[in-house]
């Protein structure tokens, strides 16, 4: 018999709406699974059972009163602990925010509340979303439900692990250089990096403001589409929010890929450092799409080899400024007994930030310094222009691009922790979409030779989410159900 926690969000939503189950029961089932298993996964930093149950009860009452609610009303969600919830501790995976309880809701949370989505907890992450494994969390790494000795990816590893482990059918992450897609790939779930500006960043603790974007995790493409519909849309609190109506993504899911032109990014599929099992699964997915009637071609994107370097200047530069507000004055950790405010700032930041965050703050501070700006930050911004141009050229020939999400499957905890450069290479296929502000999705395409999930990445131009969902859905249907992680055998 299928357990409640195995069901998709769409299915749970339908059952709650039809009163076949209650939102309260659905929330309770997930909360007890979390209670039973999260000690080994460490997906959550803070559980919010009261908040989740209050939302669920409200949903049940409104349904009982005959109200027509959204398709996700009552469906539990794991929220990356970098989005503010009024009155709920928010850490960003950092010691520097010790004790911080934001006095306001992020727009995404406001929308989730309006959609009746119960938030069961705040999910673990690399400190301030800087990392690809959650090993940079000040509260210990999350573990991959496929192999508890391995990382779930990052930075949104807690959300990905939670969805993969059956702790919640939905998750929210943020993607600055691949932080949704890479953990989705490593945990065998669906992850969407929406177009920059599609989802409001208001209430998202900024890492790199021009790259950060909030997006959904789910186990099916339909669920991801439903969640994106719920959180996307113009927000007057975010000046970088796109002032357009959100199209209904779910409606167009079944229209197929016949005649669609798909460009395979050739240097990614068989590039240096790409695990053979990854290449093999991606090739199989290409075959599958081809047999569904898509036209497959190959493309090379020369500027992309500079994207990683550009990213590691732009993101640290922005972060060095964004993280300046963590200074012990207004919130979070304050070093005691400092003789003056400067000493207090320095000691609080020294004690509060982890090594990776410090590394990026220093890198970014340097990149923005007078005399270095043009050579580093300025140059990186020019590379960004070239990346955008390469994408534009590619989309003259193709409707979507395709490649792996990550060069490898999940690696062992500790394996790359002391080698930042090896760690940074995890994001080599995901970063270009962030630089271009474009849309991309990662969805499971089977297991590699090591028995771990491989992610297929579909990339599209800005505002192409509907198209990406359609392709992803067609592939997902052709692929059929995927294996569940070993953790599913436990309860």
């Amino acid at each position: 018999m299928t357990e409640v926690w195995e069901l998709s969000a769409a299915e749970l939503g339908r059952m709650i709406a039809r009163k076949e189950t209650s939102a309260r029961d659905v929330v309770d089932v997930h909360l007890s699974r979390i209670e039973a298993l999260d000690d080994s996964v460490n997906a959550f930093l803070t559980l919010t059972p009261d908040l989740a149950r209050a939302t669920a009860d409200d949903v049940d009452q409104r349904i009982a009163a005959g109200e027509q609610l959204g398709p996700l009303a009552g469906v539990p969600l794991a929220l990356k602990d970098i989005l503010c919830v009024d009155g709920v501790r928010t850490t960003a995976g950092s010691k520097i925010l010790e004790g911080y309880v934001p006095p306001y809701d992020s727009t995404v949370v406001r929308k989730l509340r309006a959609a009746g989505v119960p938030i069961v907890g705040k999910a673990n992450l690399d400190e301030f979303a800087m990392g690809s494994s959650t090993e940079n969390s000040a509260y210990g790494p999350s573990r991959n439900p496929w192999d508890l000795a391995r990382v779930p990816g990052g930075s949104s590893g807690g959300s990905a692990a939670a969805v993969s482990a059956g702790f919640a059918p939905l998750g929210i992450g943020t993607d600055t250089g691949g932080s949704i897609r890479q953990p989705a790939s490593l945990c065998g779930v669906v992850g969407v990096k929406p177009t920059y500006g599609l989802v409001s960043r208001y209430g998202l603790l900024a890492f790199a403001s021009s790259l950060d974007q909030v997006g959904p995790f789910a186990r099916t493409v339909e669920d991801a589409a439903l969640l994106l519909e719920a959180i996307a849309g113009h927000d007057r609190m975010d000046a970088t929010s796109i002032p357009e109506e959100v199209p209904p993504y779910v409606k167009g899911l079944e229209s197929g890929v016949k005649g669609l032109r798909i460009g395979v990014v050739s240097d990614w599929v068989e590039g240096e450092g790409v695990q053979p099992g990854v290449t093999e699964r991606v090739r199989a997915a290409i075959e599958s799409l081809s047999s569904l009637g898509a036209e497959i071609g190959e493309i090379s994107l020369p500027s992309f080899r500079y994207a990683l370097s550009a990213y590691y200047l732009i993101a640290p530069a922005e972060c060095s400024s964004n993280l300046a507000r963590y200074d012990g004055v207004r919130w979070g950790l304050r070093a005691p007994e400092a003789k003056d405010v400067v000493e207090m700032n320095v000691r609080s930041r020294t004690a509060g930030f982890g090594d990776e965050v410090k590394r990026r703050i220093m890198l970014g501070t340097y990149a923005l310094s007078a005399g270095y700006y043009d050579a580093y930050y300025g140059k990186a911004q020019q590379v960004r222009t070239l990346v955008i141009r390469d994408f534009e050229k590619a989309y003259e020939r193709f409707d979507v691009l395709l490649g792996p999400t990550s060069p490898t499957t999940a690696f062992k905890i500790g394996e790359k922790a002391d080698d930042p450069l090896a760690m940074y290479l995890n994001d080599v296929f995901t970063i270009p979409s962030n630089l271009a502000g474009a849309a991309a999705i990662s969805l499971p395409c089977g297991l590699a030779e090591d028995g771990l999930p491989v992610g297929l990445q579909l990339l599209g131009p800005p505002m192409s989410e509907g198209l990406l969902f359609k392709v992803a859905y067609a592939y997902e249907q052709a692929r059929g159900p995927v294996d569940a992680p070993p953790l599913w055998g436990r309860s």
Binding site: Y196, Y306, D340, Q381, V383, R384, I388
Partner: protein, 57 residues
């Protein structure tokens, strides 16, 4: 990256094709003093308390 010829390439500080995003000059609700100060490590006289500031800005 340093070797890349970029003389004629304009910088992109933002991939977003937006411009002139403003809000109207209207007043909205404020946080109460209590809530505004709720996150503060130390508070005195309705203000955020910090160790002495040695220099003028």
């Amino acid at each position: 990256m340093t070797a890349l010829a970029t003389e004629d390439v304009p910088p992109t500080s933002h991939a977003l094709p937006l411009k002139n995003v403003f809000r109207p000059d209207e007043i909205g609700p404020c946080l109460s003093q209590e809530k505004a100060l709720s996150t503060a490590p130390e508070v005195e006289q309705g203000r955020f308390k910090v160790p002495r500031i040695m220099e003028e800005p």
